[in-house]
């Protein structure tokens, strides 16, 4: 074996992982595609290669198990409107929910803690995780704890895995859009990402910039009861722009979004302009993007608006046969493509 070969005999590329590989865009997809997907076979109705929010595994003729897992790191770990404990539980509950499993059976929770972290901080985070579990109607049933040396991990990493059930064949993938489907969002976009960036950059904007982190399983259940949901995704990393592009890409349809109908909080829009960051490009932790059969769009919208987390829900556009794989944004003035953000968002010069 030459020096440039790895242990398995493949040639070493010399490339290293960068933060951009974790940003949810094209580089992350190529990392996963090259290193992960090629090594594992699919199983079940929705598997690894579908790159959906979770896997769907048939249990018997009537039911399927939905499984999802996520590791959570966030800076700062306690932020306006939430903390890493709430984020970890809500993130996993939401990934189950957008597959159609709105009543989570149970979660696991693993902690990787940096030596020196205050007990009070852990106490706060775990109390928050528990409260969020109660809100979502589930519990943590197994877990693991590791302590790393100072500097070996940044304060705390929380991994949560969740399982839930769906009636067999009734899961909702993110790839189900058809031309004509209404695109519905469950509320204001960009709240989590802009709140965190503002906090991280030390900006003290007027107005309430708070994360939207929350479990959305009840919200999703209400939508599913109200009409035919053809596709669902929670627009976390990479935001709405990434989610809607992934949805049209997988379904090989286009989408036309009317920017004026997309709910964005005034404070988020203003802070985004100052930071030079688009609210569509940053994470949401308590929102859902739905594809809905056109005849059911108004019913689903009404059902969402009846929910506490869905008061600002809106129909923002529709799937189209034109421009397959691309999202056209009508800005109210002109039209352009809505593209996925790439990499870490950095503040601009002026």
């Amino acid at each position: 074996m030459s020096e440039t070969e790895d242990a398995d005999g493949t040639e070493a590329s010399g490339e290293v992982v960068t933060t951009a590989h974790g940003s949810g865009g094209g580089q992350m997809r190529s990392l996963i595609g090259d290193l992960v997907l090629s090594r594992f076979e699919d199983a079940g109705d929705v598997g690894l290669h579908d790159l959906d929010d979770g896997a769907v595994l048939p249990v018997d003729d009537d039911q399927s198990l939905v499984v999802t897992t996520d590791s959570h790191v966030v800076k700062p770990p306690v932020f306006p409107g939430g903390d890493i404990g709430r984020l970890a539980v809500a993130g996993t509950v939401n990934d189950l929910a957008v597959m159609g499993a709105t009543e989570p059976l149970a979660l696991s929770c693993s902690l990787v803690v940096e030596e020196g972290v205050e007990m009070d901080f852990l106490d706060t985070v775990l109390a928050s995780a528990r409260a969020t579990c109660e809100e979502a109607g589930c519990s943590v049933v197994t877990g693991d704890t590791k302590v790393m040396g100072s500097g070996d991990v940044d304060r705390l990493v929380v991994n949560t895995t969740g399982v839930g059930l769906v009636p067999r064949g009734h899961h909702v993938a993110d790839a189900g859009l058809s031309p004509g489907d209404a695109i519905v969002v469950s509320g204001t976009l960009g709240d989590h990402g802009i709140a965190l960036l503002s906090e991280r950059e030390g900006f003290d904007f007027e107005g309430d910039l708070e994360s939207d982190v929350a479990p959305v399983n009840d919200l999703v259940a209400a939508a599913l009861d109200a009409g035919e949901v053809t596709a669902m995704k929670d627009p976390t990393r990479g935001g709405f722009a990434t989610s809607i592009n992934e949805m049209v890409g997988k379904a090989d349809v286009g989408a036309e979004i009317d920017e004026r109908s997309v709910p964005v909080a005034d404070s988020v829009a203003a802070a985004g302009e100052v930071l030079g960051i688009e609210p569509f490009d940053v994470a949401n932790e308590g929102k859902v993007v739905f594809g809905v059969a056109p005849e059911d769009a108004e019913d689903v919208l009404a059902a969402l608006q009846d929910q506490p987390l869905g008061a600002d829900a809106a129909i923002v556009g529709e799937a189209t046969a034109d421009h397959p794989g691309r999202v056209v944004l009508d800005t109210g003035l002109g039209r352009r493509y809505l593209t996925e953000p790439e990499g870490e968002q950095l503040p601009r010069i002026c």
Binding site: D266, V328, G332, L333, G334, R335, P341, P347, I349, C350
Partner: protein, 370 residues
Amino acid sequence: MATDSDKDLQFRDPDTAEELTERLEELMDDIGEPVDVMHVCGSHEQAIAKFGLRSLLPDGLSVRMGPGCPVCVTNMPEVDEAVALAEDGKVVATYGDMFRVPGTARSLEDAKADGADVRVVYSASEAADIAAENPGEEVVFFATGFETTAAPTAAVLSDDPPENFSVLSAHKYVPPAMEVVAEMPDTNIDGFLAAGHAATITGYGLFEEFVADYDIPVVVGGFEPLDVLLGLERLLEYVRDGEAGLENAYPRAVSEEGNVQARDTMWDVFETESGEWRGIAEIPAANLALREEYAASDARERFDIDPDVGGEDPLTEQCICGDIMAGKADPDGCDLFGEECTPQNPVGACMVSSEGTCKIWYEYGGQPDL
């Protein structure tokens, strides 16, 4: 929620946009031949791309971006100097846009990944604050940008900054670059949409000489979408009438004389010198260097900077940023665009900054036929 006040913001009113668009159509009909105008500000390109304004423009009207991105025109050796200082143990503070700009061998981001202390700041005063908070460190502000950021840098330097604070100036002055572009034989620009930000400091009166010397219309424009459309309408009127006039289409921010105090402070601290603008040309009197009185705060005077100049990436030879900034090409005319050259792995500086044409085209989906 997006409120009604947001939607009806007068600078984004769709009805007025439609009226202006129709007016542009009429003017182009009157002119009867293709028109090329150039704006000289990344924020104009941002507004045009973000609001999809190119989809509204009449056939034959081409709006091109000139050398209006300060990050893009910062020359590679200037980046090398900043990288050298960072590698030599200085704390280097700079704007976020500069972080990834490739020097001949490396970027500040590369230096940081190897342990150098590179900080992203929003202002010169924030960089000075870092110096005040870290008296044991030498803090260098890698200062880029046009008049809009040069004036605040000057204000910090003239206000008794900490002794451990210095400035590596890569500040640039826009008007001479407009002259160079206007003189380029293969760049046929019919009018300039001048940058409202810079004119806020220098005043629009500054352009009178340029209009007279080059017999070309100049309209100072703001950055809301209707500001841009209005600026284009005024320019087309001049073109139709065959006149080389000067107009301020951004009066709510720009006056004839500008911000006199800021401008005076800027010229107290800086003087112009000849310098290379990346990819474009050596431009006389377009770089802002610290005057001798400020030598103690001048990183070039204070430190023996020996940049580690590396072999250029062979890809950079294929990069057409220079042609793009001179209005001769569009980003998708570059073989590297969106393939070898992306915001994550920029080959040319235009793909780095949010003010750069390539980055803006990449981010907002280019110039689709929609």
